[in-house]
C-alpha cells in the first residue's frame, strides 16, 4: 500500500489517477500511523512552499516524514519541502536534501519563461528510479522555483539555469517534474518507484 499524504495542498487527483493506471494500491491519508505503516509514501503537492510547510507542521507531519524508513517520493512542491529551504515565502523546509530552492529569473532575450511550464529533457540520470530511462528523456514540469544542484542530485534539467530535476538520499526520492503527467516515461518512473 502506498500512502499518498494529504496535507490539504490542492489536487491529489492526478497522482491518484496515475497510480490507478499502473495498478498500484494506494490510500489518501494524513493519519500518522497509516503513513508510518505504509510500504511506500508519496508526498505530492501544488501551491506555495511556506504555506505548504505550515500545513505539514499543523498536522504534526514534519518529524514523521523525516523519520520514515520506507521509500518516500516527493513530487514538485513535495520534493521542495524535503529540501533545506525555499525562497518562496522564505520557508525553512525539512532539510532531508541538503540544497536550497530558488526562483527562476525570466529572460525575454533568450526566451526563458517563468513559470517553467512544459516538457523538458532530463540528463545525468543515475538512480534506480530512472532504470530503463535514457538521458534526454522528456518529462513535464510546472514550477517557478527549483532546487540548486547538489551531491544528492540524480537528474538535471535547465531553464535559464541548470537545476536538480530529481534528488535522492537513502530511502528519500524527489522529482521536480510531474511523473503523473509525463506520459509513458512518467508511468515508467512511478513503476520504478514501486520496485524500490
Amino acid at each position: 500500500m502506498i500512502a499518498v499524504v494529504d496535507y490539504d495542498t490542492g489536487n491529489l487527483r492526478s497522482v491518484c489517477n496515475a497510480l490507478g493506471r499502473i495498478g498500484a494500491q494506494y490510500c489518501v491519508t494524513s493519519d500518522i500511523e497509516t503513513i508510518r505503516a505504509a510500504e511506500r509514501v508519496l508526498l505530492p503537492g501544488v501551491g506555495e512552499a511556506s504555506s505548504a510547510m505550515e500545513k505539514l507542521r499543523e498536522r504534526g507531519l514534519c518529524d514523521v516524514i523525516k523519520g520514515l524508513t520506507q521509500p518516500v517520493l516527493g513530487i514538485c512542491i513535495g520534493m521542495q519541502l524535503m529540501c533545506r529551504s525555499s525562497e518562496e515565502g522564505n520557508a525553512a523546509c525539512l532539510g532531508i536534501f541538503d540544497t536550497a530552492v530558488r526562483r527562476f529569473e525570466p529572460d525575454r532575450e533568450s526566451g526563458v519563461k517563468v513559470p517553467h511550464m512544459g516538457w523538458n529533457s532530463i540528463g545525468s540520470l543515475h538512480s534506480p528510479l530512472f532504470e530503463g530511462i535514457a538521458d534526454g528523456a522528456f518529462v513535464y514540469f510546472v514550477h517557478s522555483y527549483a532546487p540548486d544542484l547538489c551531491d544528492e542530485c540524480i537528474a538535471v534539467s535547465a531553464n535559464g539555469r541548470t537545476f536538480a530535476a530529481a534528488l535522492a538520499k537513502g530511502n528519500f526520492y524527489g522529482t521536480q517534474f510531474h511523473p503523473e503527467k509525463s506520459g509513458d516515461i512518467g508511468e515508467a518512473i512511478l513503476r520504478n518507484f514501486l520496485k524500490l
Binding site: 490542492g10 489536487n11 487527483r13 492526478s14 489517477n17 496515475a18 490507478g20 493506471r21 501544488v46 501551491g47 506555495e48 525570466p106 525575454r108 526566451g111 526563458v112 519563461k113 517563468v114 513559470p115 517553467h116 511550464m117 512544459g118 516538457w119 523538458n120 529533457s121 522528456f138 513535464y140 514540469f141 510546472v142 535547465a158 531553464n159 503523473e180 503527467k181 509525463s182 506520459g183 509513458d184 512518467g186 508511468e187
Partner: protein, 251 residues
C-alpha cells in the same frame, strides 16, 4: 530549454467530440477519451477540451467526461468553455482537470483571474484571448469574436499575467479559420512584453505556419484543431518535421 508544445484542441458538445474523423481503426470518433488517447499516443504534448454545449445538461455531461479523461490520459489537459465563476473552476479541478481556460468571463470580471489563481495557482489558469485588428490596434473580442470590446490586446494580456494567469492562449480572429498562417509579428511582440508562456491558436494551414509561429513568432506552443482532426498530418509527423527545422520538440 523547454520544448515547444503541440496541442490538439477537441470540441465537445453534449459530452461527445465533434469534428474528428479519419483515425484508422477508431470505432467511435465521438469518444473524447479515445480520441485524446490517440493524440497522446502520437506525441501530443497536452490536450485542450473545449465544451461548446449550450445546455445545463451538456455542461453536466462534460464534467463527467472530464473525470474520465483525467483517469485515462497521462498527459496534461486543459478544459474550457463556459467557465464563468470560481465554482465552475473548482468543479473541474475536483474531477481532475490540470488547467482551465477562461475567456469572456474574465473580460467581464477580471477579478475572476485573481480568484482562481489565488486559490489553485497560476499554473491552473489559462487566459484565452481573442483579438481582432481594428484600425491600427488589436482589440479584444468576446463570445467567439462576435462582440468587440474596447480593451487593447497588449494591455489586457499584461493585466492577465499580473492578475495571475499562467499562460496566454492567443487567437487572432482575423486569421482563425483562414488556414493562411498566424500573425507572427503580433505573437513576437506579445512574447517580448510577457514573462509567461504564450500559446498560438487559429490560422494553421501547414507545417510551415506552425514552424513560423514557434520560431519567428516566439510562441511557446501551438494549438490546432482541423489539421489534426481531418487527418492531414499526425501530431507525430508534424513534430518530426518541426524537429528537422531545428525547433526543439519532444519526440
Amino acid at each position: 530549454m523547454v520544448a515547444k508544445r503541440i496541442i490538439p484542441c477537441l470540441d465537445v458538445k453534449e459530452g461527445r467530440t465533434v469534428k474528428g474523423v479519419n483515425f484508422v481503426g477508431l470505432q467511435d470518433v465521438g469518444d473524447a477519451v479515445e480520441l485524446g488517447r490517440r493524440y497522446a499516443g502520437q506525441g501530443a504534448d497536452e490536450l485542450v477540451y473545449l465544451d461548446i454545449s449550450a445546455t445545463v445538461e451538456g455542461r453536466n455531461t462534460f464534467t463527467l467526461l472530464v473525470e474520465r479523461i483525467a483517469q485515462n490520459i497521462n498527459i496534461p489537459f486543459t478544459v474550457g468553455g463556459g467557465i464563468s465563476s470560481i465554482d465552475d473552476a473548482s468543479r473541474l479541478l475536483d474531477v481532475g482537470a490540470d488547467k482551465i481556460s477562461i475567456n469572456s468571463a474574465a473580460v467581464r470580471n477580471p477579478m475572476l483571474i485573481d480568484e482562481i489563481a489565488a486559490k489553485y495557482g497560476s499554473q491552473f489558469v489559462v487566459l484565452a484571448v481573442d483579438a481582432k485588428r481594428v484600425g491600427g490596434q488589436w482589440l479584444i473580442t468576446t463570445h467567439g469574436g462576435r462582440q468587440l470590446t474596447e480593451r487593447e490586446l497588449f494591455a489586457w494580456a499584461y493585466e492577465g499575467q499580473e492578475r495571475g494567469a499562467g499562460e496566454i492562449l492567443l487567437t487572432s480572429m482575423d486569421h482563425d479559420g483562414t488556414r493562411c498562417g498566424y500573425p507572427c509579428e503580433l505573437f513576437a511582440q506579445l512574447s517580448q512584453k510577457l514573462s509567461i508562456p504564450i500559446i498560438a491558436s487559429g490560422g494553421a494551414g501547414s507545417v510551415e505556419d506552425i514552424a513560423d509561429v514557434l520560431s519567428s513568432g516566439r510562441a511557446d506552443a501551438a494549438l490546432a484543431a482541423s489539421i489534426f482532426h481531418y487527418g492531414e498530418i499526425t501530431v507525430g509527423e508534424l513534430k518530426r518535421q518541426l524537429s528537422e527545422k531545428n525547433i526543439k520538440v519532444r519526440l
